[in-house]
Symmetry: C2
């Protein structure tokens, strides 16, 4: 096992470099003074370059080859670890260094252009830089695809959700496309038949919002000995092993946004804090891809904290914290506020019922662009057509349309589908957890996350990257990823109960 | 100049690694959750190891050799840069990797033991680990000394103040030892002849203390676009290039301590922010050693901000900020509070007149230990004898004696003298600045640091590591480092005016 051990030590160093970059990246978005941006970019580039050098060094390849001969003596976690090392090595060595650097430069330039283009709703300004990013992403996808035996898009997708393929996604998304428009229409007409929920009147002082957020993080199982809550313009979960840092952004006029944002990021954080203790610094100890990561944030935010049960706990907690009372502060009104369905232009503001439409649209567009079937110049039109088809909305300008997200300018092609795959997985896992733990929902009504978090730790978090997404779901829920649980969830929450399917 | 250019690019990477470590180290002392300590230590060790690998790679030695042939084509800054690269390379390659690692492990262990030993005033518990650190420091000193052509102690000292030698320090410290005891006695009897200054009555809310600190940092020239002020248990100046982060610790009962601490760290920070713009990421752009660094903090804190002139600005500022009035809040009373002389056990709490005694003591002890003339077991006795001789104090236990500082357990042998060399340099530089800028002191009385900071930027900060300490002082003040200006400063401030030396 000498070669395997040497690889463990090598990947532990890579992990430390990644953790260092994680803290530096967190700092850049929370505390760093503006004048430090250029230096920080240098630091991160140097760390990334050194990590790439270690991963692609001939010695790493030699050790991987030699460790193959030792496989018989390895346990299942070690074998899975070796497989993850190989995967990382394949992804890293598949792309020539010139292409890595060209892509990195193009992305940096395009992100800068995008900020101005979005501000001015000026797609034409972005188009040339975006075309260059697309060209390079297609090259990256081709290069990785050749090594991995995958299509270019699948090769890119594999970087975000290892093992996930278009062949798995397409039927799931087709199913959503089939039933969602009708469900949205029905949910909206049910809501329209009732008086709208009462708004919660502010102001909500930031220190009290933070206090409630911290209390709920703690209740959900967040370990403050190994993490923090801070403020940033765009909320995220980052940091390092045993140092998981989530952020939010407070608005004194709106208590829901920051609070549910904190709970969303807490879901991500619980996954990171719950990774298998013996393997936290090895590839097999990493969280298993972005789909499952998103499932963990959506379980906490959407499945648990926007539930009717949890509203029974949250409503008096908020009323007490902010010293309010009256009909707006009942559990039922809060629940109705938290489950409002309303098609809108902005993906990150979407409710859980209309959110998949934003993803279906982007998935269709990015697969077409990677395949060479859609040109950058035709993107705004295609985007706006899709918004009309999927959500019945006429996009007034590209700022509210195809310029809203950083993913494409930022070179994250193949990332978008993981949001909705995560929503499907969240519903499926929550359903299984609820069945396994009969007290789970009653506990939420008491503000007790114990049964939920305990189940997730054992069935998701502690698995690290031992299994791929489908295999993990199979073990945890008895089935691979599907849309059935998500559909049932929407029926229960928005349509008055589960539909009778026996009618055919 | 191909080799020289390649070296610049190599040292820029090293600089980025150092900056990354600077931010991670700052974070560890300000925000990091406890559970992250082990991971952070890993990250820093990996960064340090990679930097050491780059610096000691055969290719670096080859480039340094080849760049020697290009020296004729280099400008003065480039030549000085090359010399600093060589110095860094010599220091790094002089010590075998085994010894570097053994030393690093011994220091980590000894620091942990020291925390317990200090808490319990139990030197016996520390002694074995400290003896091991000393043994390894002597080896490091010997190894470096052989390569650098220096004695072991001078070789260690050279790591903190390049070019500084015992032969320069000994006569300066002898001079201090000669006149300081009499000066301290006289200052104390002058103070005893007057009623003591009135204390400033608290409480002083932290947010107001922070507000005054920020205002004075800004007035002194601190650039908040390239730095921050935060809180830590032990105040320090850290961070990275264009990201200089100072810390303080607030006590609501005491406004002076945090405020003068902030001003002290601001002096360090101004040096870092004022390094030569074109060279900030090269060795020649670094600050020139710890003696000059300490001189910059002491100029701001001791020379400028504890002056009678500055008290005229500070007293009404504090009275207004905290809404106080009365005889305690006059400029004269504040000045007397800020210039109180009182021998004490703790170095970091010492006034500027008794501080050098703490350093003379430690310098004598550490040079004897490195030379093999003093055993660790005999340290407490020797320390306490020295405190009696130098300050007339009987040390009640080792917590207030030889256990108070982290430097020896932490492997920083050769560091202590730079504190007092810094005090001498501060007096010498301030005197030269005052002569060059007649408005300097009147400006301080208006809260205007412009003339002082402007002179320091031009004559110290912007020089980076172009010159060694003596050469820089020669250029800036007309003389190499001496004790004369410090002596005059003490006479003016504490003894009623400059002594007439013509009497003999």
């Amino acid at each position: 096992m000498r070669s395997y051990r040497a690889l463990e030590s090598r990947f532990a160093r890579l992990h430390a470099l990644g953790d260092a970059a994680g803290i530096l990246g967190w700092d850049a978005q929370t505390l760093m003074p503006d004048g430090a941006a250029e230096g920080r970019a240098d630091q991160l580039a140097v760390l990334k370059g050194l990590a790439h050098d270690i991963l692609t060094a001939p010695e790493t390849a030699d050790l991987l080859a030699a460790a193959g001969d030792e496989a018989a003596g390895l346990g299942p976690w070690q074998r899975a670890n070796l497989a993850e090392m190989r995967r990382a090595h394949l992804h890293a060595t598949a792309v020539p260094r010139d292409l890595v650097e060209a892509n990195s430069r193009a992305v940096s330039r395009c992100e800068m252009t995008w900020r101005q283009a979005r501000r001015d709703a000026d797609f034409a300004r972005l188009a040339p830089d975006l075309a260059e990013v697309l060209r390079l992403q297609r090259e990256v996808g081709r290069a990785k695809g050749e090594r991995l035996g995958l299509s270019p898009y699948d090769a890119l997708l594999d970087g975000y959700d290892p093992g996930m393929r278009r062949a798995r996604i397409d039927p799931l998304f087709a199913e959503l496309r089939d039933f969602l428009p009708g469900y949205v229409a029905e949910a909206r007409s049910r809501q329209a038949a009732e008086p709208p929920p009462l708004p919660l009147d502010g102001p909500f002082p930031v220190d009290l919002q933070r206090q409630v957020g911290l209390a709920l993080m703690g209740a959900a199982g967040f370990d403050f000995g190994r993490g923090r809550l801070d403020v940033s313009l765009h909320p995220f979960c980052g940091g390092a092993t045993d140092d998981v840092r989530i952020t939010t952004r407070y608005d004194e006029a709106d208590v829901t946004r920051a609070l549910l944002g904190v709970l969303h990021e807490t879901g991500h954080a619980l996954y990171e804090q719950g990774r298998p203790v013996a393997w936290t610094r090895q590839p097999v100890g990493e969280a298993r891809g972005m789909s499952l990561h998103e499932s963990q944030s959506l379980i906490v935010e959407m499945q648990a904290c926007r539930s009717r049960a949890f509203a029974a706990h949250l409503a008096p907690l908020l009323a007490g914290t902010f010293g309010r009372q009256g009909p707006a502060w009942t559990a039922e009104n809060l629940y109705r506020l938290h489950t409002r369905v309303e098609p809108g232009f902005i993906r990150v503001d979407a409710d859980e019922m209309t959110y998949p439409a934003h993803i279906l649209l982007r998935y269709g567009l990015e697969t077409a662009m990677i395949a060479g079937d859609l040109a950058v110049a035709d993107l705004p039109g295609a985007f706006n057509d899709g918004m009309r088809d999927l959500l019945g909305l006429a996009v007034p300008d590209d700022r509210l349309g195809c310029l809203q997200d950083i993913h494409w300018p930022g070179g994250s092609w193949g990332y978008f589908p993981t949001y909705t795959l995560g929503a499907l997985a969240a519903a499926q896992l929550f359903r299984a957890a609820r069945e396994a733990e009969p007290d789970l929902v009653p506990a939420l009504a008491r503000g007790d996350f114990g049964p939920l978090t305990g189940w997730l730790r054992a069935n998701v978090h502690a698995k690290g990257s031992l299994l791929d997404t489908d295999a993990l779901l199979q073990e945890a829920t008895g089935a691979p990823l599907g849309a059935a649980a998500f559909r049932l969830h929407l029926e229960e929450r928005y349509l008055g109960g589960v539909r009778d399917r026996t009618r055919g």
